[in-house]
């Protein structure tokens, strides 16, 4: 009996000293349970602790924090109902064997089919679960009772270990948080801006790394006073007992200096923020704004801006001139009531409303002509372009308009239209007149010619030589008169007939034409080797070459006269020339010879109506070309004219 007690005491003694050698949860479980298992011949021991105790969070689950040997371990997390029979859950200890009907229900280990289980409650912490596969149960009530005190000690140590674990976790969390804050807050040393701590008199006590260059510029070392202008600010803050913020300038740099005094601690913090670049940017922005303003004010167009409620927010000098309103008279007033005529106001309101609702505005970003209202009440035409400007994403709009007064232009256009109508009428009248006149004049001329022939035939014997000569001259003049009238008629009819134009090989064309001319024996015609094909009216081309050739032959006084026709490639156009070695034209007549009814040789009895070159010039110009002359008196004359290579049908601007 005494021996048994001694043995029990010795085991309890060993058990009680087996734990608490460290604050490690697993080590304590191992040390205690190894002794318990060896001395009590226990096959498996496990410690289950509720989650609430482990994590301080509410949960009905129990976690396996230790189990040995591990080949029995299967479940690691269980609900209380799965771990402990409900009816025994609050008992200090209990045991059951494989003959218990619920035995298998509470076998949460593997490789166990029979044997004996014992549970010892570890206060609110959880349970110590023991297993033995001995034949007879070692978990009698007496044996388990013996273990209660040492189990309580085990419980307390486990609680301590868990508390320490929690504390460590909380401490780690706290340190992590502190570290995060430290990183975010950027302690003064890491701050990229200068931070300086001074005493009340402005003597530097601390300066962070970023202050070095500033202090160098200020010529101040640590433990030396700052310049007076900063010390004055420190004193000011000290007196006010509140932060003072001031903009200061050091060596061309601008700084915002905030001084925060801590009179109780006898120091002040000086926070410097370099705003030089910001200031430069601000100045640049201001300059840009002024420039823009100047441009707007100097603009030839009125620049008017309105907000999305239609109120005028921009009104330049030109707007004042166009509409008569001063800026102060219209600023903030609706545009509708200021410059939009009453008949257009409703349409304007509808357009604004639709744009704000749908983002669609048919008149926006286009040049439109519309009527505007002047301060004096009269309407006048304007041309305007309106652009919407979005101020922010999902935010409001402003609308800017460039407005141009087109009253004068409209007046001019109106006048031009009137003139054009009148001109057309006059042209038609002239054309009709020329036609009528030439037609009506030709008829009496034919009668005069016929009568003159009859008189000459019937009274030949009564007419002397002089009379005959006079008759002959009269007939010639009648013929000349007819030609003149025909020429006027032709001239007045000239115009482009696009549908009759065709590709003409000029070389072939000239050969044919020359063949049909009865050349005087002293004149020869020379054509160049090659001529291009031009797109021209064949009758017009014939008129041009015929007139020029005719003149060249007619006015050639040389016994060995020649006429040469050729062409040069001038890129976009062909430059034709008709040259002769006739008597030439004085330079002063170079322009005059192309005028109608201007013939230089009337007095010299040349048969000339004075209209041929006028017709040539008109034809050339109708096709966009140009004609000019070079000549030397007594040496000869060369006429040049141009014909476009491409189908030149529309623009009649000269070459």
């Amino acid at each position: 009996m005494q021996e048994d007690i001694i043995q029990d005491i010795s085991i309890l003694y060993e058990l009680s000293l087996s734990m608490g050698k460290s604050m490690d949860l697993e080590e304590n479980c191992h040390d205690f349970l190894e002794v318990l298992m060896h001395r009590k011949r226990i096959s498996y021991a496990s410690v289950w602790v509720c989650e609430t105790c482990l994590t301080l969070k509410g949960s009905n689950t129990y976690s396996l924090i230790y189990g040995s040997p591990n080949f029995y371990i299967q479940e690691r997390s269980l609900s209380k109902e799965e771990l402990v029979p409900d009816s025994w859950a609050t008992h200090s200890y209990f045991s059951f064997s494989d003959d218990h009907p619920d035995f298998s229900r509470f076998v949460v280990e593997q490789n166990i089919e029979q044997g004996h289980f014992a549970y010892i409650r570890l206060d609110e912490l959880g349970y110590l679960k023991l297993y033995s596969n001995q034949k007879s149960s070692p978990f009698s009530g007496v044996e388990l009772t013996k273990l209660l005190n040492v189990s309580q000690q085990f419980t307390n140590i486990i609680k301590g270990c868990i508390s320490q674990q929690l504390y460590k976790r909380l401490l780690n969390d706290s340190l992590e948080k502190e570290d995060k804050i430290r990183k975010i807050a950027k302690f003064p040393e890491e701050n990229p801006n200068p931070i300086i701590r001074t005493n009340k008199t402005g003597i530097v006590e601390y300066a962070n790394f970023s202050s070095n260059s500033l202090l160098e510029i200020l010529g101040v070392n640590k433990h030396e006073p700052l310049p007076d202008f900063i010390r004055m600010l420190i004193l000011d803050a000290w007196r006010k007992k509140e932060s003072v913020t001031e903009e200061i300038s050091v060596e061309g740099k601008s700084w915002i200096l905030q001084i925060s005094p801590f009179p109780d601690e006898n120091f002040a913090y000086l926070y410097f923020n370099d705003v030089s670049k910001l200031k430069q940017a601000h100045m640049a922005l201001k300059a840009s704004e002024m420039k823009t303003r100047a441009i707007i004010n100097a603009a030839l167009d009125a620049v008017i801006s309105i907000d999305q409620d239609g109120r005028i927010i921009e009104w330049n000098q030109r707007a004042k001139e166009i509409f008569g309103w001063e800026m102060h008279e219209v600023f903030g007033k609706t545009i509708s009531g200021s410059i939009i005529p009453e008949k257009h106001r409703e349409a304007h309101s509808r357009g604004m409303e639709r744009f704000m609702r749908t983002g669609y505005g048919p008149v926006l970003n286009k040049r439109i002509e519309i009527e505007a209202l002047h301060k004096k009440g009269h309407s006048f035409p304007v041309e305007l372009a309106i652009s919407p400007i979005k101020l922010s994403e999902g935010g409001s709009y402003i609308f800017s308009a460039f407005v141009r007064d087109i009253s004068v232009r409209k007046e001019m256009e109106s006048k031009r239209e009137r003139l054009m109508v009148e001109l057309e009428k006059a042209n038609k009248y002239l054309s009709d007149f020329a036609h009528v006149v030439s037609h009506d004049l030709k008829e009496p001329l034919r009668s005069i010619s016929t009568l003159a022939s009859w008189i000459q035939e019937d009274h030949e014997e009564f007419i002397n030589e002089e009379g005959k000569e006079h008759f002959s001259m009269m007939v010639k003049n009648i013929v000349l008169m007819e030609e003149l009238i025909e020429g006027v008629l032709s001239y007045s009819k000239l115009g482009r007939s696009w549908d009759q134009m065709e590709d003409i090989n000029v070389g072939d064309f000239l050969c044919d034409m020359v063949k049909g001319i009865a050349l005087p024996p002293h004149i020869s015609i020379e054509l160049s080797q090659s001529f291009p094909t031009v797109f021209y009216h064949p009758i017009h081309l014939r008129q041009v070459f015929q007139n020029l050739l005719s003149n060249a032959i007619k006015y050639n006084d040389k016994s060995n006269g020649w006429v040469r026709i050729g062409v040069k490639d001038k890129g976009e156009y062909w430059e034709f020339f008709v040259a002769d070695n006739g008597r030439g034209v004085e330079e002063k007549y170079f322009e005059k010879i192309f005028q109608i009814f201007q013939s230089l040789d009337k007095k010299k009895n040349f048969e000339s109506s004075g209209i041929g070159l006028s017709i040539v010039k008109k034809i050339i110009e109708i096709y966009g070309g140009r004609i000019w002359v070079n000549s030397e008196l007594g040496e000869g004359t060369t006429f040049y004219f141009s014909i476009y290579k491409e189908n030149f049908l529309s623009d009649s601007s000269s070459l």
Binding site: S10, Y13, L17, H38, R41, I42, P69, Q110, Q134
Partner: protein, 367 residues
């Protein structure tokens, strides 16, 4: 099978002659006086694909006698290859689990008997292989108590390690020692592994000497420690079974006592004393503990502590005779073979693996 000629070629001829399947392996128990060139032997066995596991022991047991020379070879069906557990291993080391293997299984385990790492190696092995398995084995080593590589598989010979193999065979184990308390309790107030530094907060050797002298066990004169100590081992109390014996092997620095086997700090110890007859009867008890008539007996392996042989001296053969007689009386005629070990290994009824001292473990293998 006992062989006297342990030259490599002879061992190889026996092993090869008996070898028939890759699912078989050999238990090879060598007497320390008959150790061949182990590296060459094991290399050759590995080359030839022969699986082997065993150790070198102070002496062998054969036909009821202690034999100082020779080798014991036993063939077993295996559940897996022989394994090695070394101190650097941890729980992630690959070791085949036999948790889910049903039916016959027995583990033969041989440890470096003089290694301080044996207890933790055994714990690790037990955690890996599992409980529902019969363990049988002992500590190998040399009579000189000088530590050297002494356990092996075909892969090599090791120190500070345990080797073993899991057999596809049923075994029953009987464990007993017969030592009784004569004094105690003493508290091992300072220990480290197998060294007791303090007993009852005093230098261990002083307390031990004083206790033995008080018990009339004789006087230590400085040179007779082992002669006296072999009669007075320590016992660690355990419920409902014999105390776990710890054999004092020598004296350490500053009055420490070196034991065969771990002594936990704050363990409560008794000093035990053995009577010849009680020890001999304990052997019979161990033999009886492993007998069953349910299956036919195949072979018996005895792992008996060298210190028991030294203690019983001439009477030691009586211990072996008692074991043999115990089987004979039950009509179990079988050749008894075994080793004199430095520590014994077994698990009682599927409980923790223990490393015993001064104990006899009898394992009976059944077909």
């Amino acid at each position: 099978m006992f062989v006297t000629d342990t030259r490599i070629e002879n061992l190889l001829s026996y092993l090869e002659q008996d070898y028939s399947s890759t699912e078989e392996g050999f238990l090879l128990l060598l007497s320390e006086k008959s150790v061949p060139d182990m590296e060459l032997l094991l290399f050759t066995l590995k080359e030839r694909g022969i699986k082997v596991c065993g150790g070198i022991f102070p002496a062998l047991l054969h036909k009821g006698k202690r034999v100082d020379k020779g080798a014991i070879i036993q063939r077993f069906p295996l559940l897996g290859d022989p394994f090695v557990v070394q101190t650097q291993m941890n729980s992630s080391s690959p070791l085949k689990s036999y948790h889910n293997v049903t039916g016959k299984k027995t583990a033969l385990v041989w440890a470096d008997g003089l290694s301080g790492y044996t207890p933790q190696n055994l714990k690790w092995l037990y955690a890996q292989l599992g409980g529902p398995i019969t363990y049988l084995g002992g500590g190998a080593g040399f009579m000189s108590f000088q530590q050297a590589p002494c356990v092996f598989t075909q892969d090599g010979i090791y120190q500070d390690a345990i080797v073993g193999m899991v057999l596809k065979k049923t075994a029953r184990v009987g464990v007993s020692h017969g030592w009784k308390k004569i004094m105690g309790p003493l508290v091992a107030t300072k220990t480290r592994k197998n060294i007791i530094y303090e007993l009852n907060w005093e230098p261990a050797l002083e307390v031990y000497k004083r206790s033995i002298e008080l018990a009339g066990g004789g006087v230590f004169d400085g040179g007779n420690f082992f002669d006296l100590a072999k009669q007075y081992p320590f016992g660690i109390y355990r419920s409902q079974t014999e105390q776990l014996v710890r054999d004092p092997l020598g004296i350490g620095e500053e009055g420490a006592i070196i034991c065969a086997g771990e002594v936990p700090e704050n363990a409560v110890l008794n000093i035990l004393k053995g009577e010849d007859e009680e020890l001999i009867q304990a052997a019979r008890q161990a033999a009886a503990g492993c007998q069953t008539s349910e299956q036919p007996l195949d072979k018996v392996l005895i792992v008996d502590c060298i210190s028991r042989a030294l203690f019983l001296d001439e009477k030691f053969e009586r211990e072996l005779w008692e074991v043999e007689d115990c089987f004979s009386k039950e009509n179990m005629e079988v050749a008894l073979e075994g080793v004199l070990s430095i520590g014994e290994i077994s698990s009682l009824s599927g409980q923790n693996l223990d490393f015993y001292n001064k104990t006899i473990v009898v394992g009976a293998f059944y077909d």
